[in-house]
Assembly symmetry: C2
Homo-oligomer: 272 residues x 2
């Protein structure tokens, strides 16, 4: 199956690498030349694509705003499957279905990544056992979804969850977006600036994703403003509970809150 991936960052290049490793014919497209050379050298792609011509499946692995532009202005072959990996899905879907399209749209969001970006962070096994969310609406072509799911299996994804774009955006606010906000806010503590020598795994993990690409994440946050606001408010409210218990020296209350969190975590792990 001839596949074109537009955007050879960590996700796009890992899409290429894992799909090609599974035997697909994969072409890469990228604004700048250097990642194309890198992808060729590392065997991530069969060659460069300068248009979408001849592709059966196209993945858009581009920053949010460019993804929306491409979904509305890209020149895709008739009937091609076009899938974006953008981290917000309502905005993408709205852009697609604003008009009648000649292509079949399937939204995806790989729940994988690293705290680094760019093609040098890509790898053929980035998606191994990772979660993938596939978003669908009543306008989605069922056979296109089947193809995307099959390709996702080829890429090594573990659990593949199908849901609406609305559901995706609501969930992602807490499973990804807020985690990046918190890590970023956490590491800005003045005390933390002189913390080396005092840190262990909990600090490392808490701040691992603090170094976000501020341009991309600002876009993602604004596209999912209401959901992220609700989750941020919820977390602030909960933190204030611990804060108040602490200020009051209320051990009973503190124990109760910590217990609730422990049980929630255990519940979550059980469902894994």
């Amino acid at each position: 199956m001839k596949i074109i991936v537009n955007g050879l960052g960590i996700i796009g290049a890992s899409l290429c690498a894992s799909l090609r490793a599974a035997g697909h014919e994969v072409y890469g497209r990228n604004r700048s030349r250097e990642p194309i050379g890198y992808a060729l050298e590392h065997g991530y792609i069969d060659g460069e694509a300068t248009s979408y011509d001849g592709a059966e499946v196209i993945f858009l692995a581009l920053p949010p705003e460019i993804t929306l532009r491409e979904l509305t202005q890209g020149r895709f072959p008739d009937g091609a499957i076009v899938s974006d990996i953008c981290g917000v899905k309502v905005a993408a879907e709205e852009a697609v279905y604003a008009e009648r399209r000649n292509y079949r749209y399937v939204g995806t969001h790989p729940m994988a990544g690293k705290e680094t970006s760019g093609i040098r962070s890509a790898s053929p096994d980035l998606f191994a056992r990772a979660n993938l969310v596939v978003t669908v609406s009543e306008r989605t072509d069922a056979s296109a979804v089947s193809v995307v799911r099959r390709l996702a299996k080829d890429m090594g994804f573990g659990k593949i969850t199908t849901c609406t774009a609305q559901e995706h955006d609501r969930m992602i606010a807490v499973t990804s977006q807020l985690a990046h906000v918190v890590a970023n806010a956490y590491v800005r503590s003045e005390t933390a600036r002189s913390a080396h020598g005092f840190t262990g795994g909990s600090f490392q993990d808490m701040t691992r994703v603090a170094g976000v690409d501020e341009e991309m994440w600002t876009q993602l946050y604004l596209y999912n403003r209401e959901n992220l606001l609700a989750e941020t408010d919820g977390l602030i409210r909960r933190l204030e509970e611990y804060r108040d218990a602490l200020a009051a020296g209320d051990g009973e209350k503190l124990r109760g809150l910590l217990r609730e969190g422990r049980l929630a975590r255990e519940e979550y792990l059980k469902k894994q």
Copy 2:
């Protein structure tokens, strides 16, 4: 060197295992029998100790309140080095120096652990390359500190930082305590309850240490109330900045905050 470790949980048993692997003579003491049997079976200890008699160095790897009780009521041999691994150090030091002691006290805090507890989570390499904080005051015996530092090297610790108990407690509020509060508060999101299938590394890392032993951590938090309050307030204030920028749809502001966090993280990594 004959060493006795009181408390065979994850930390205490790992102290035994790493010290014995380095050739020391190590005896374990524990309220319940089962961990003693486990430690013997796994070669973590040379035998059981029922008193501190004959020990040159004693490690107390007990919950905070029991540690304070033991530091004030334990029957230690004259001149023995007694080191607690309690996560708060001002309270421990105050307990020790409330009276003249027949032992030499050195506070330690291994910045290592797991999201699980108990002897089954222990291992001889738990401390490999981990940070250790050693707390000292003008009453601390310098030769006792040297012995503890040497033993810490034997246990595999990486960076060993010496500071006052006050400095330790101030730093630990942000490098460990608040991280546990945040993870615990984070996982209590109602949305997160149905989040499996939508999670990636950022959620896993953010909530990894959520399942704290609420009894122990309540004690730790209350002993370090003021420092933890200051850090919790600071984080809430910073989260409100992102929240307000988001509510106002202020991309410029959001980008600025995220950039600040990214730079703080880069600064931190450079110092590592």
